[in-house]
Symmetry: C2
Subunit: 146 residues, 2 copies
DNA sequence: GTGATTGCAAACCTTTTGCACGCCA
DNA sequence: TGGCGTGCAAAAGGTTTGCAATCAC
Protein backbone atom coordinates (compact mmCIF):
# COMPACT_ATOMS: atom_id res chain seq x y z
CA UNK A 1 0.00 0.00 0.00
CA UNK A 2 1.08 3.52 -0.70
CA UNK A 3 0.89 4.67 2.89
CA UNK A 4 3.80 2.46 3.93
CA UNK A 5 6.09 3.79 1.23
CA UNK A 6 5.21 7.30 2.26
CA UNK A 7 5.82 6.81 5.95
CA UNK A 8 9.57 7.11 5.89
CA UNK A 9 10.10 10.36 3.97
CA UNK A 10 7.34 11.95 5.98
CA UNK A 11 8.97 11.11 9.28
CA UNK A 12 12.15 12.60 7.90
CA UNK A 13 10.18 15.65 6.83
CA UNK A 14 8.64 16.02 10.28
CA UNK A 15 12.13 15.98 11.75
CA UNK A 16 13.26 18.71 9.41
CA UNK A 17 10.31 20.83 10.43
CA UNK A 18 11.00 20.42 14.12
CA UNK A 19 14.62 21.30 13.53
CA UNK A 20 13.47 24.52 11.92
CA UNK A 21 10.86 25.20 14.62
CA UNK A 22 8.01 24.66 12.23
CA UNK A 23 4.84 22.98 13.33
CA UNK A 24 3.84 19.82 11.51
CA UNK A 25 0.40 20.64 10.18
CA UNK A 26 -1.83 18.57 7.90
CA UNK A 27 -1.42 21.22 5.22
CA UNK A 28 2.36 21.05 5.32
CA UNK A 29 2.33 17.27 5.19
CA UNK A 30 -0.03 17.27 2.22
CA UNK A 31 2.11 19.80 0.37
CA UNK A 32 5.24 17.81 1.06
CA UNK A 33 3.60 14.60 -0.15
CA UNK A 34 2.56 16.35 -3.32
CA UNK A 35 6.10 17.59 -3.87
CA UNK A 36 7.78 14.20 -3.61
CA UNK A 37 5.22 12.86 -6.07
CA UNK A 38 5.83 15.56 -8.68
CA UNK A 39 8.29 14.79 -11.44
CA UNK A 40 8.42 18.26 -12.94
CA UNK A 41 8.87 21.79 -11.61
CA UNK A 42 5.50 22.85 -10.30
CA UNK A 43 4.33 26.39 -9.65
CA UNK A 44 2.44 27.21 -6.46
CA UNK A 45 -0.73 27.02 -8.48
CA UNK A 46 0.12 23.55 -9.81
CA UNK A 47 0.64 22.27 -6.28
CA UNK A 48 -2.51 24.00 -5.09
CA UNK A 49 -4.65 22.39 -7.76
CA UNK A 50 -3.24 18.89 -7.29
CA UNK A 51 -3.65 19.11 -3.56
CA UNK A 52 -7.29 20.13 -3.56
CA UNK A 53 -8.30 16.55 -4.29
CA UNK A 54 -6.86 15.65 -0.90
CA UNK A 55 -7.53 18.78 1.11
CA UNK A 56 -10.42 20.60 -0.56
CA UNK A 57 -10.36 23.49 1.89
CA UNK A 58 -6.71 24.46 1.69
CA UNK A 59 -6.13 28.00 0.48
CA UNK A 60 -3.78 29.08 -2.24
CA UNK A 61 -1.97 31.35 0.21
CA UNK A 62 -1.12 28.51 2.48
CA UNK A 63 0.35 26.55 -0.40
CA UNK A 64 2.29 29.52 -1.66
CA UNK A 65 3.57 30.51 1.77
CA UNK A 66 4.47 26.96 2.63
CA UNK A 67 6.47 26.49 -0.55
CA UNK A 68 8.31 29.70 0.27
CA UNK A 69 8.99 28.40 3.77
CA UNK A 70 10.15 25.02 2.47
CA UNK A 71 12.62 26.72 0.17
CA UNK A 72 13.98 28.71 3.09
CA UNK A 73 14.67 25.65 5.21
CA UNK A 74 16.13 23.77 2.27
CA UNK A 75 13.44 21.22 1.53
CA UNK A 76 13.00 22.47 -2.04
CA UNK A 77 14.74 24.82 -4.45
CA UNK A 78 13.32 27.71 -6.37
CA UNK A 79 14.02 27.71 -10.07
CA UNK A 80 12.89 30.19 -12.62
CA UNK A 81 10.97 29.97 -15.81
CA UNK A 82 11.32 32.68 -18.42
CA UNK A 83 8.16 34.36 -17.30
CA UNK A 84 5.14 33.98 -15.15
CA UNK A 85 4.97 32.10 -11.92
CA UNK A 86 7.84 31.10 -9.70
CA UNK A 87 8.58 27.40 -9.91
CA UNK A 88 9.86 24.94 -7.38
CA UNK A 89 12.26 22.05 -7.68
CA UNK A 90 11.76 19.16 -5.26
CA UNK A 91 14.56 17.13 -6.89
CA UNK A 92 17.50 17.08 -4.53
CA UNK A 93 19.68 14.76 -6.56
CA UNK A 94 22.50 16.52 -8.36
CA UNK A 95 21.02 17.46 -11.70
CA UNK A 96 20.99 19.89 -14.57
CA UNK A 97 18.31 21.73 -16.48
CA UNK A 98 17.07 21.89 -20.01
CA UNK A 99 15.04 25.04 -20.42
CA UNK A 100 12.76 25.58 -23.41
CA UNK A 101 12.65 29.15 -24.75
CA UNK A 102 9.20 28.74 -26.22
CA UNK A 103 7.04 26.83 -23.77
CA UNK A 104 9.16 27.51 -20.70
CA UNK A 105 9.34 23.86 -19.71
CA UNK A 106 12.20 22.86 -17.45
CA UNK A 107 13.43 19.31 -17.84
CA UNK A 108 15.92 17.64 -15.50
CA UNK A 109 18.83 15.65 -16.82
CA UNK A 110 21.73 13.84 -15.22
CA UNK A 111 25.36 13.91 -16.27
CA UNK A 112 28.32 12.79 -14.19
CA UNK A 113 30.74 14.87 -16.23
CA UNK A 114 28.75 18.04 -15.58
CA UNK A 115 28.46 17.15 -11.91
CA UNK A 116 32.21 17.19 -11.54
CA UNK A 117 33.19 20.36 -13.36
CA UNK A 118 35.69 22.22 -11.22
CA UNK A 119 34.87 25.69 -10.00
CA UNK A 120 37.93 28.01 -10.01
CA UNK A 121 39.44 28.73 -6.61
CA UNK A 122 39.03 32.47 -7.10
CA UNK A 123 35.25 32.10 -7.33
CA UNK A 124 35.12 29.68 -4.42
CA UNK A 125 36.90 32.26 -2.28
CA UNK A 126 34.74 35.14 -3.32
CA UNK A 127 31.32 33.51 -3.08
CA UNK A 128 29.68 31.06 -0.76
CA UNK A 129 28.72 28.58 -3.47
CA UNK A 130 25.69 26.50 -2.56
CA UNK A 131 25.18 24.59 -5.78
CA UNK A 132 26.10 24.56 -9.44
CA UNK A 133 24.18 23.55 -12.49
CA UNK A 134 24.47 23.45 -16.25
CA UNK A 135 21.52 25.05 -18.00
CA UNK A 136 20.84 24.29 -21.65
CA UNK A 137 18.62 26.77 -23.42
CA UNK A 138 16.77 24.91 -26.11
CA UNK A 139 13.71 24.62 -28.28
CA UNK A 140 12.20 21.40 -26.99
CA UNK A 141 10.86 18.47 -28.99
CA UNK A 142 7.24 19.57 -28.67
CA UNK A 143 7.90 23.19 -29.69
CA UNK A 144 10.16 22.14 -32.54
CA UNK A 145 7.26 20.45 -34.28
CA UNK A 146 5.09 23.53 -34.35
CA UNK B 1 33.34 62.31 -27.52
CA UNK B 2 30.89 59.64 -26.56
CA UNK B 3 28.76 60.05 -29.62
CA UNK B 4 31.50 58.77 -31.91
CA UNK B 5 32.00 55.60 -29.90
CA UNK B 6 28.29 54.99 -30.00
CA UNK B 7 27.93 55.48 -33.74
CA UNK B 8 29.14 52.07 -34.82
CA UNK B 9 27.03 49.75 -32.66
CA UNK B 10 23.99 51.87 -33.42
CA UNK B 11 24.43 51.52 -37.15
CA UNK B 12 24.75 47.81 -36.62
CA UNK B 13 21.62 47.90 -34.49
CA UNK B 14 19.72 49.80 -37.16
CA UNK B 15 20.69 47.10 -39.65
CA UNK B 16 19.38 44.40 -37.37
CA UNK B 17 16.10 46.23 -37.05
CA UNK B 18 15.69 46.59 -40.78
CA UNK B 19 16.48 42.92 -41.24
CA UNK B 20 13.65 42.14 -38.84
CA UNK B 21 11.32 44.68 -40.45
CA UNK B 22 11.34 46.88 -37.39
CA UNK B 23 11.28 50.62 -37.70
CA UNK B 24 14.19 52.53 -36.24
CA UNK B 25 12.53 54.88 -33.78
CA UNK B 26 14.13 57.25 -31.27
CA UNK B 27 12.72 55.13 -28.44
CA UNK B 28 14.29 51.94 -29.76
CA UNK B 29 17.63 53.65 -30.25
CA UNK B 30 17.54 55.06 -26.73
CA UNK B 31 16.69 51.68 -25.25
CA UNK B 32 19.44 50.00 -27.20
CA UNK B 33 21.96 52.62 -26.09
CA UNK B 34 20.91 52.05 -22.50
CA UNK B 35 21.38 48.32 -22.89
CA UNK B 36 24.91 48.45 -24.23
CA UNK B 37 25.79 50.76 -21.36
CA UNK B 38 24.41 48.46 -18.67
CA UNK B 39 26.82 46.09 -16.99
CA UNK B 40 24.24 44.13 -15.04
CA UNK B 41 20.94 42.42 -15.86
CA UNK B 42 18.33 45.15 -15.83
CA UNK B 43 14.59 44.69 -15.48
CA UNK B 44 12.24 46.61 -17.73
CA UNK B 45 11.74 49.03 -14.88
CA UNK B 46 15.48 49.57 -14.48
CA UNK B 47 15.81 50.44 -18.15
CA UNK B 48 12.72 52.63 -18.00
CA UNK B 49 14.06 54.66 -15.09
CA UNK B 50 17.54 55.12 -16.55
CA UNK B 51 16.15 56.14 -19.88
CA UNK B 52 13.83 58.83 -18.58
CA UNK B 53 16.77 61.19 -18.18
CA UNK B 54 17.19 61.06 -21.93
CA UNK B 55 13.61 60.64 -23.10
CA UNK B 56 11.36 61.98 -20.34
CA UNK B 57 8.15 61.16 -22.19
CA UNK B 58 8.79 57.52 -22.98
CA UNK B 59 6.23 55.17 -21.47
CA UNK B 60 6.97 52.07 -19.46
CA UNK B 61 5.00 49.99 -21.93
CA UNK B 62 7.18 51.00 -24.80
CA UNK B 63 10.27 50.01 -22.86
CA UNK B 64 8.79 46.70 -21.82
CA UNK B 65 7.45 45.90 -25.25
CA UNK B 66 10.67 46.89 -26.93
CA UNK B 67 12.75 44.69 -24.65
CA UNK B 68 10.41 41.83 -25.48
CA UNK B 69 10.84 42.56 -29.17
CA UNK B 70 14.61 42.79 -28.87
CA UNK B 71 14.71 39.41 -27.21
CA UNK B 72 12.65 37.95 -30.05
CA UNK B 73 15.02 39.17 -32.75
CA UNK B 74 18.06 38.11 -30.76
CA UNK B 75 19.48 41.45 -29.64
CA UNK B 76 19.23 40.52 -25.97
CA UNK B 77 18.51 37.45 -23.86
CA UNK B 78 15.97 36.97 -21.12
CA UNK B 79 17.35 35.58 -17.89
CA UNK B 80 15.51 34.91 -14.72
CA UNK B 81 15.86 36.09 -11.21
CA UNK B 82 14.44 34.07 -8.36
CA UNK B 83 11.39 36.23 -8.16
CA UNK B 84 9.81 39.43 -9.33
CA UNK B 85 10.48 41.08 -12.61
CA UNK B 86 11.85 39.51 -15.76
CA UNK B 87 15.43 40.49 -16.39
CA UNK B 88 17.37 41.02 -19.58
CA UNK B 89 20.92 40.17 -20.54
CA UNK B 90 22.55 42.38 -23.13
CA UNK B 91 25.86 40.51 -22.87
CA UNK B 92 26.32 38.45 -25.98
CA UNK B 93 29.78 37.17 -25.20
CA UNK B 94 29.83 33.55 -24.07
CA UNK B 95 29.45 33.76 -20.31
CA UNK B 96 28.16 32.14 -17.17
CA UNK B 97 26.10 33.30 -14.23
CA UNK B 98 26.52 33.63 -10.52
CA UNK B 99 23.12 33.91 -8.94
CA UNK B 100 22.65 35.09 -5.36
CA UNK B 101 19.90 33.34 -3.42
CA UNK B 102 19.38 36.25 -1.09
CA UNK B 103 19.48 39.46 -3.08
CA UNK B 104 18.78 37.88 -6.46
CA UNK B 105 21.75 39.55 -8.12
CA UNK B 106 23.04 37.94 -11.28
CA UNK B 107 26.74 38.37 -11.94
CA UNK B 108 28.46 37.40 -15.19
CA UNK B 109 31.71 35.49 -15.20
CA UNK B 110 33.92 34.08 -17.91
CA UNK B 111 35.57 30.68 -18.01
CA UNK B 112 37.06 28.99 -21.08
CA UNK B 113 36.77 25.55 -19.51
CA UNK B 114 33.05 26.00 -18.91
CA UNK B 115 32.62 27.37 -22.42
CA UNK B 116 33.92 24.14 -23.90
CA UNK B 117 32.06 21.50 -21.89
CA UNK B 118 30.74 18.90 -24.29
CA UNK B 119 27.03 18.27 -24.53
CA UNK B 120 26.19 14.58 -24.99
CA UNK B 121 25.11 13.57 -28.49
CA UNK B 122 21.84 12.16 -27.18
CA UNK B 123 20.77 15.57 -25.92
CA UNK B 124 21.96 17.32 -29.06
CA UNK B 125 19.77 15.00 -31.11
CA UNK B 126 16.73 15.40 -28.93
CA UNK B 127 16.78 19.17 -28.43
CA UNK B 128 17.58 22.12 -30.57
CA UNK B 129 20.20 23.58 -28.24
CA UNK B 130 20.58 27.34 -28.59
CA UNK B 131 23.02 28.04 -25.77
CA UNK B 132 24.49 26.54 -22.63
CA UNK B 133 25.56 28.11 -19.39
CA UNK B 134 26.89 27.18 -15.99
CA UNK B 135 24.88 28.71 -13.16
CA UNK B 136 26.38 28.95 -9.67
CA UNK B 137 23.88 29.45 -6.89
CA UNK B 138 25.60 31.40 -4.17
CA UNK B 139 25.33 33.77 -1.29
CA UNK B 140 27.17 36.78 -2.65
CA UNK B 141 29.81 38.87 -0.92
CA UNK B 142 27.36 41.59 0.07
CA UNK B 143 24.77 39.22 1.53
CA UNK B 144 27.42 37.17 3.29
CA UNK B 145 28.29 40.13 5.48
CA UNK B 146 24.78 40.60 6.76
C1' DG C 1 -2.62 28.49 27.15
C1' DT C 2 0.14 30.60 23.68
C1' DG C 3 2.27 31.55 19.76
C1' DA C 4 2.55 29.84 15.13
C1' DT C 5 -0.37 28.86 11.18
C1' DT C 6 -4.21 29.21 8.36
C1' DG C 7 -7.73 31.33 5.35
C1' DC C 8 -9.58 35.39 3.61
C1' DA C 9 -9.28 39.94 1.64
C1' DA C 10 -7.00 43.72 -0.06
C1' DA C 11 -2.95 45.80 -1.91
C1' DC C 12 0.86 45.67 -4.79
C1' DC C 13 3.77 44.68 -8.63
C1' DT C 14 4.59 43.03 -13.24
C1' DT C 15 2.94 41.71 -17.64
C1' DT C 16 -0.60 41.64 -21.22
C1' DT C 17 -4.17 43.50 -24.05
C1' DG C 18 -7.02 46.98 -26.63
C1' DC C 19 -7.34 51.15 -28.82
C1' DA C 20 -6.65 55.84 -30.83
C1' DC C 21 -3.16 58.91 -32.29
C1' DG C 22 1.23 59.88 -34.39
C1' DC C 23 5.31 58.97 -36.85
C1' DC C 24 8.71 56.25 -39.81
C1' DA C 25 9.40 54.37 -44.25
C1' DT D 1 -0.25 57.46 -47.39
C1' DG D 2 -0.29 53.08 -44.89
C1' DG D 3 0.89 50.46 -41.39
C1' DC D 4 3.85 49.97 -37.57
C1' DG D 5 4.94 51.92 -33.09
C1' DT D 6 3.78 54.61 -29.11
C1' DG D 7 1.29 56.07 -25.05
C1' DC D 8 -2.52 55.54 -22.18
C1' DA D 9 -5.81 52.83 -19.67
C1' DA D 10 -7.72 48.73 -18.08
C1' DA D 11 -7.34 43.91 -17.08
C1' DA D 12 -5.06 39.87 -15.83
C1' DG D 13 -1.84 37.09 -13.30
C1' DG D 14 1.22 36.37 -9.43
C1' DT D 15 3.00 37.69 -4.93
C1' DT D 16 2.84 40.04 -0.55
C1' DT D 17 0.73 41.84 3.55
C1' DG D 18 -2.59 42.38 7.49
C1' DC D 19 -5.76 40.41 10.41
C1' DA D 20 -8.93 37.45 13.01
C1' DA D 21 -9.93 32.70 13.98
C1' DT D 22 -7.91 28.24 14.68
C1' DC D 23 -4.75 24.66 15.72
C1' DA D 24 -0.27 22.26 17.12
C1' DC D 25 2.62 21.97 20.80
Amino acid sequence: MQKDEMQDPILHFADKCRQANLKVTPQRIAIFKQLIKSENHPSADNVFKSIRTELPHISFDTVNRTLQTFSEIGIIDIVESYSGARRFDPNYKNHHHIHCFKCGDIIDFYNDGFDSIEIPESLKKKYNIISKRVVLNVVCSKCRLE
